[in-house]
Each structure stands twice: as structure tokens, then as C-alpha cells.
């Protein structure tokens, strides 16, 4: 991956400024379900590249296949590109490699916690992750004395937990 980044930056020195500008635009596009997160924090912006003809190409990957936010996100990205002067940009969907919660950025994880949603614990790198139920820290008091109320929550990406220490219920961003 770093080889690809190096290659792209050396070949596209002149355009990197425009790519950076588009990335900045995208970093202001919120996730419609969890607006404290931008789509960059969420890790779903897969590519920002200037084509030979000068048009920008942006590739977004869905989180869950059925997530209704995916279409809203496409519309928001299109609107942001239009407003930023990139009305002719090409908007692609990239399915591979599949998004997992490992793609959440460290900044995104902290924003989730501050918002009251526990960020995913650990990594999905091993499917064994799913076999156990990881200890989740309460985003309000930090206690690890929490229990799962429901494996599913208000959106596809969340499960429902309760803190035994402070008594607050909270959402947990699934590790999947």
C-alpha cells in the first residue's frame, strides 16, 4: 500500500494539491447516522485521484451491504463535490477490499467515544474475534463492567450495551 502511495505521489506531484483539496472537502462530509464522524474518519473513502483528463475520481466503499446511509452518503459527497467546484468528478463504488471496523481512523474512534458511542474493541483481523464477547469500556465513565443488551442496535453498525458501574445504556460500534 505504501508503495502505491509513493508511486501515486511521485507521478502526480502537480495534481496532489487538487487531490488534497478534494480530501479536505470529503473530510467535512458527515456520516448521516453518526454526524460527529466524517466519511474520512469512518474509513470509507478509498480513492481520490486526478484522471488524465483532469477530472477527479472519488471511490467510496459501503460499510454494510444494506446500510441505508450509503445512498445518502453518495448524495452528500456529490453535493460537496459540486459545491467545491468539482461537478464533473467521477464517483465510484469500491467493494474490495471490504470495509471492516478496522478502517475507522484513530481520530474517528476518539470522536465516537466523546459522542457517547463505545468504539470497536480490538481488531477484526481474526474471525475468532466474533466467538467471544469482548470487554467494552463505557464511553461515559470508562468502566469495563458493562454488559451486552442486544447484538443489534439502532443502525447496522451498532450493538446495545449497558454500564453496570454508572448505570447508563450506550451504543457500541460493532467490531465486524
Amino acid at each position: 500500500m505504501s508503495a502505491v502511495v509513493r508511486k501515486m505521489s511521485s507521478e502526480h506531484n502537480l495534481s496532489s494539491e487538487r487531490e488534497l483539496e478534494v480530501r479536505k472537502l470529503l473530510a467535512r462530509v458527515p456520516d448521516p447516522e453518526i454526524p460527529v464522524l466524517s466519511i474520512v474518519d469512518l474509513g470509507i473513502v478509498r480513492e481520490v485521484r486526478e484522471e488524465a483528463d483532469g477530472r477527479m475520481r472519488v471511490a467510496i466503499t459501503p460499510t454494510y451491504t444494506g446500510c441505508p446511509a450509503t445512498e445518502v452518503i453518495r448524495a452528500l459527497v456529490r453535493a460537496a463535490l459540486d459545491a467545491g467546484g468539482y461537478a464533473d468528478a467521477i464517483l465510484d463504488e469500491a467493494l474490495s477490499p471490504p470495509w471492516t471496523s478496522d478502517w475507522l481512523t484513530p481520530a474517528g474512534r476518539e470522536k465516537l467515544r466523546a459522542f457517547g458511542i463505545a468504539p470497536p474493541e480490538g481488531s477484526v483481523a481474526s474471525p475468532r474475534q466474533l466467538l467471544g464477547s469482548p470487554a467494552v469500556s463505557c464511553p461515559r465513565c470508562g468502566s469495563r463492567a458493562t454488559e451486552r443488551v442486544s447484538e443489534f442496535g439502532s443502525t447496522p453498525c451498532k450493538a446495545h450495551y449497558r454500564c453496570s458501574a454508572c448505570g447508563e445504556p450506550f451504543d457500541y460500534f460493532k467490531c465486524i
Partner: protein, 264 residues
């Protein structure tokens, strides 16, 4: 092993047609099961399970959308995901017969879900290595969701199977009733075999023992008894369905059939 085709063009066309049918089978199974689960919304035994079944349904319909879009492109007749979902009749649906079986009680729904989750786990894991990049990408995505589904359904299978005498008996009777539809899951036909030879799809005969082992492991934990093998009279994946699919489609397609082209 495979005979050299006399005319490569003809063989290519046959492969492409098989590929389209195969993708439709996966898509229709996910769609029909997703629609069935949607019938639980507002009716599940507890709010948490209502949410769970709705979330499973949403994932399955999401998978169906990606697969139907691909099937429509392979077919090349200009049908998109909506046309395929809402404007085909039952004999054109290639879903597994198991998927269309009615919900019954919560335990019955769990048994049906768990049997298909275990099947999808093997199929999607096999398809991750398909030479068809599009199918491999969809499968890789769906596999992660399916692992979560199987954790949910096998969890309830064990809790209810190894629960009270009443819950145990209901789970065993659901299993006894649904088991006869499982021989279809791993009985390959010419579509499966052709795609398996072309390394597009995994070999069903190779996947069957893995599914069987997983199912046995879950059944042991749930103290349920695996029913005896049954003959194979079901052909949902060839478009021959039980009477239940037509009723399901009537409800699912009603709006588009009555108001063609209506949009949300």
C-alpha cells in the same frame, strides 16, 4: 477431466448463462429470506429480537441488491435490481426452497435462519477465492455479515434447544420439519458443476462435509437430534417452488405491480 469444447464460443455463452443463473440463486435466496425476516418487524418476542431480525433482513437485502445488480448486467437485457426483484414471477425466482418457508414461531424462524447462515458461511467463504472478481468482492463483504448472523442464530439455537422442555420440543419439531429442504443446499446441478470447473464457484460436494460438521457441532450444543436424510423433491433453485413463494411475492411486489414505476 473436462472435455474440450468443440466450439469455444458456445461454451463461453453457456458459462455466462450459468454464471447469471448462479448469481440469481444467491441473490434470490438472500432476498426471499430477507423479506421473510421483515415480516417479523413489530411482532418479535422482544424489542432486541425485533431489532436483530430487522438488521439481518437489512443485510440480506443489501447482499441481494449487489447480486441482483450483477445478475442484471450478466443477463444483458437491461433489467436492474428493482426490475429483477419486483417484476419477476415465482418460476423465475431461483432461491432455495428453504428460504421461502413460512416463519412459524420464533424458534422455527431461528432454525431456518441458522441452516441458511451455515450454508452461506461455506458458500461465501468459497466464493472469496473465485476467479470472478466481482463475485469475490461481494462474497468477501457478505461473509463478514454472515459470521455475525450465524453467531446470533446459533446462540438462540443453543438457548432454546437446551432450554425448557417446551422450547426444546418446539426447536426439535422445527428442525424435523425444515430438514427435508436441506438436501437441496449441497446437491449440485449442471450450473454448479460448470461454474465449479471454471473456478467461479466452490464445489458443493467439497463444501457439504464442512457444513455438516458445523451443523452437527451446533446441534450437539443445542441438545437437538439431527433428523434422518430425506429424498430430494425440492427444486427452488431451478424455479420450482412450494406454494409459499407466490404469496410472499404477492406482498413484496404488490406496490410495483399496482403502480408501475412508483418511486419512494
Amino acid at each position: 477431466m473436462s472435455a474440450t469444447p468443440a466450439t469455444p464460443q458456445m461454451s463461453d455463452a453457456a458459462l455466462e448463462e450459468a454464471r447469471c443463473r448462479y448469481v440469481l440463486r444467491l441473490a434470490d435466496t438472500a432476498l426471499v429470506l430477507g423479506q421473510r425476516l421483515g415480516e417479523w418487524i413489530g411482532h418479535a418476542p422482544a424489542l432486541e429480537e425485533d431489532l436483530a431480525l430487522a438488521n439481518l433482513s437489512l443485510d440480506l437485502i443489501g447482499q441481494a441488491r449487489l447480486l441482483l445488480t450483477y445478475a442484471g448486467e450478466l443477463e444483458g437485457r437491461g433489467r436492474d435490481e428493482d426490475a429483477l426483484a419486483f417484476l419477476r414471477d415465482a418460476p423465475e425466482f431461483l432461491s432455495l426452497t428453504l428460504a421461502e418457508q413460512p416463519n412459524g414461531d420464533f424458534g422455527h424462524t431461528i432454525v431456518r435462519q441458522w441452516l441458511i447462515d451455515a450454508w452461506q458461511l461455506e458458500i461465501y467463504a468459497g466464493l472469496e477465492h473465485s476467479v470472478d472478481n466481482r463475485l469475490a468482492a461481494i462474497a468477501a463483504k457478505a461473509l463478514r455479515e454472515t459470521r455475525y448472523h450465524h453467531r446470533f442464530s446459533s446462540g438462540w439455537l443453543v438457548r432454546l434447544g437446551d432450554g425448557t422442555p417446551e422450547s426444546h420440543e418446539r426447536m426439535q419439531s422445527a428442525l424435523d420439519e425444515l430438514w427435508r429442504f436441506t438436501s437441496e443446499l449441497f446437491t449440485p446441478d449442471e450450473v454448479d458443476e460448470r461454474l465449479s470447473r471454471a473456478a467461479v464457484a466452490p464445489s458443493l460436494t467439497e463444501l457439504a462435509p464442512r457444513w455438516s460438521a458445523r451443523v452437527d457441532e451446533d446441534l450437539r450444543a443445542a441438545t437437538l437430534t439431527r433428523p434422518a436424510l430425506q429424498p430430494y423433491p425440492w427444486h427452488g433453485k431451478r424455479g420450482v417452488h412450494t406454494e409459499h413463494l407466490g404469496h410472499l411475492l404477492a406482498e413484496m411486489q404488490h406496490l410495483q405491480r399496482t403502480y408501475p414505476g412508483a418511486r419512494w
